[in-house]
């Protein structure tokens, strides 16, 4: 349960300014590390702690590798946007792939992975577990993941 919001908000003007970084990545190996470097510099500049940065790194990595894997077209690319404002990170990751039906995904469980062929399928669970809000918009013309994470 959250406390009711009262009207005497203290705005810290130094941290309240939104800072954004946007990047469109081509599909080449490990290119997600470029976005991670952007995220880290943004977050460190705003004085965010290393553990939160580490968690955000995982969330962002998973979103981008999925998008890169499924991005379609002759020049597959993925658009990534980071905005940090009042200590909250919002991440958009958009691909132009064929989309998918998230409702059909089974929640991964380690017991079931042992003894079966595919050990993968952890990205969605990690993104959900390590964020405060996680949304998927997906359709024939692509997928956009929107993740919100409090960083303080």
């Amino acid at each position: 349960m959250k406390e009711p919001v009262v009207n005497t908000t203290v705005v810290d003007s130094a941290t309240d300014t939104a800072v954004s970084l946007t990047i469109t990545l081509p599909r080449i190996p490990d290119i997600e590390l470029v976005a991670l470097e952007g995220l880290e510099r943004l977050a460190r500049h705003l004085g965010i702690g290393e553990e939160k940065i580490g968690e955000a790194r995982i969330v962002v990595t998973e979103a981008i590798i999925n998008a890169l894997e499924h991005a379609g077209g002759a020049h597959p690319s993925v658009r990534v946007e980071f905005t940090i404002s009042s200590g909250t990170l919002v991440v958009f990751v958009r691909d132009r792939g064929k989309g998918f039906n998230p409702a059909t995904l089974e929640d991964p469980v380690i017991q079931k992975k042992l003894g079966t062929q595919s050990k993968r399928g952890w990205g969605m669970k990690l993104m959900k577990s390590l964020s405060d809000d996680f949304r998927i918009q997906t359709g024939k013309s692509g997928t956009t993941i929107t993740i919100t994470k409090r960083m303080r």
Binding site: G54, I110, L126
Partner: protein
Amino acid sequence: MEQPFTLTTEVRDARLIISTSGYVNNVGGEAIANEFQKHYVSGVREVIINLAHSKVVNSVGMSFLIEIIERLSESGGRLIFTNLDPAVEKMLAIMGLFGYAGKEKTVEDALSALSTQS
């Protein structure tokens, strides 16, 4: 720039220590699994994976480690992770890996844990 993935191994008292450096992506994860397999077939059953220099990992890379857990569970072996970045530790916890693998601060801690329990 994040350094490319590399891996070093050491066998001490029939215990395999794999230390990684750099991004553990699919390629890195597969390299760890292959290195493990090489020693597994020659009888090694106690394994330490030291991730001190891998602060960035992805779930595809980590899923290869489930293969290692699988082999070791079948054969009564043990796996211990060491030097985990706090966020990587959280990731492995979410994946449920610590139900099947240990974690210690350092390689030395892992070696003594293996000594007292085996």
